[in-house]
């Protein structure tokens, strides 16, 4: 059943985000800490468990797969509702700082990527 897949995704999302909000509250910040990460972890673990128990019947996975295919359209909607005007009308400082850090970031990515945990 498709709705069961969607239900599992919704459960993982809510539990993960709730935990992220709770963690944020615990360390005293007004933000979610790792909610999406915990939700992803939970989804993978539960999905594996369901798979082992052979509970994944019919089009269960399509309830999840639909949303991962909706990812790019949602990102298009997100970029269309960014405060893009603010990026350009606050003078030069935001443009210099915002672009400089991205350039430095691009330089750092291949350097830090060299760090690998070797399987022992």
């Amino acid at each position: 059943m498709l709705i069961y897949g969607l239900g599992l995704l919704a459960f993982s999302y809510l539990a993960g985000q709730l935990f992220g909000d709770f963690l944020g509250e615990l360390i005293g910040v007004q933000a979610n800490v790792g909610g999406v990460g915990f939700a992803m972890l939970l989804l993978v673990l539960l999905h594996n468990y369901f798979h082992k128990k052979q509970w994944l019947k019919g089009n269960f996975d399509e309830g999840i797969g639909f949303w991962s295919n909706m990812y790019i359209p949602v990102i298009v909607a997100m970029s269309a509702s960014q405060n893009a005007l603010l990026a350009f009308n606050k003078g030069v400082l935001p443009i210099v700082a915002g672009i400089l850090i991205v350039v430095i970031g691009f330089v750092l990515v291949p350097i830090i990527s060299k760090i690998k945990t070797t399987a022992s």
Binding site: A39, S68, V74, G98, I99, V109, I112, T117
Partner: protein, 251 residues
């Protein structure tokens, strides 16, 4: 009957139709004009940003094209709920061994990403003539993400001008990551899960990382999102406390 309020009432469905049209146009531009040199998804995201800018000019609002009634559904579909829900759904393609192998690099990239962003923001702030620790810390925090900036600024009591600057810096960063990532990905070897996790930790801005990786290779999205999801929260924790005190001690 007011036709605009009809579309507003059916905002979410209207936005599905509009996004489908944007994607179609982007795909045609990609195949016919650019011979697939730039992927359709990258062009669609870029078109989105152009629309956002146009909407901002037209309305003066904060939500880009979504401030126009006809496009109001974009607020919901392009909001953080749908975005995070879709990111979570991509997790099924994730490989645990790969993730564990990249774990150490991911954590290191997070720490370096937070510190470097803060320092760069402060240096730019100094260059533009800010000398008090509160303003500098707020601008530094805005260089992390557009959420950390205002959180830090209001915690430290920075002026509203400086807080607006910090938000703008975070928005420029998100847009710059979105536009430049697909163009530079092959040069920085951003083509595997390991470097995507490092990329998420270094850049941190969820909107930018999500859009930049979507335009590069959708398979990398969950890996980048995994580290980026900790960035804003940790930034909100560290900027008004440890980073601010360290800055104050140095001045």
């Amino acid at each position: 009957m007011n036709i605009i309020s009809f579309f507003e009432k059916n905002g979410m469905i209207t936005s599905f139709l509009l996004i489908a049209i944007i994607m179609l146009v982007a795909e045609q531009i990609s195949t016919r004009l650019l011979r697939k040199k730039i992927p359709g998804s990258a062009i669609a995201i870029l078109l989105g940003l152009v629309l956002a800018y146009y909407g901002g000019i037209l309305t003066g609002g904060e939500k880009g094209i979504a401030d126009i009634a006809f496009f109001s559904g974009f607020k919901l579909v392009g909001g953080s709920m749908f975005r995070d829900f879709c990111i979570v759904s991509t997790a099924l393609g994730v490989s645990f061994p790969v993730m564990l192998q990249a774990g150490k690099a991911g954590v290191i990239s997070l720490i370096i990403g937070l510190i470097v962003s803060f320092v760069v923001g402060i240096c730019v702030g100094l260059a533009f003539g800010y000398h008090d620790a509160e303003s500098l810390a707020t601008i530094g925090a805005g260089t992390l993400t557009f959420i950390v900036g205002p959180v830090t600024g209001s915690a430290l009591g920075a002026s509203s001008d400086v807080i607006a600057l910090s938000v703008a810096t975070g928005v420029v960063k998100a847009i710059a990551v979105t536009i430049f990532t697909p163009l530079i990905a092959s040069k920085i070897k951003l083509d595997n899960p390991h470097s995507a996790m490092v990329f998420g930790g270094i850049m941190g801005t969820t909107s930018g990382v999500a859009a930049g990786l979507a335009a590069t290779d959708q398979k990398l999205v969950p890996y980048g999102a995994l580290t980026a999801t900790f960035y804003t929260g940790l930034g909100c924790l560290l900027c008004p406390s440890v980073f601010y005190l360290a800055l104050k001690a140095l001045m």
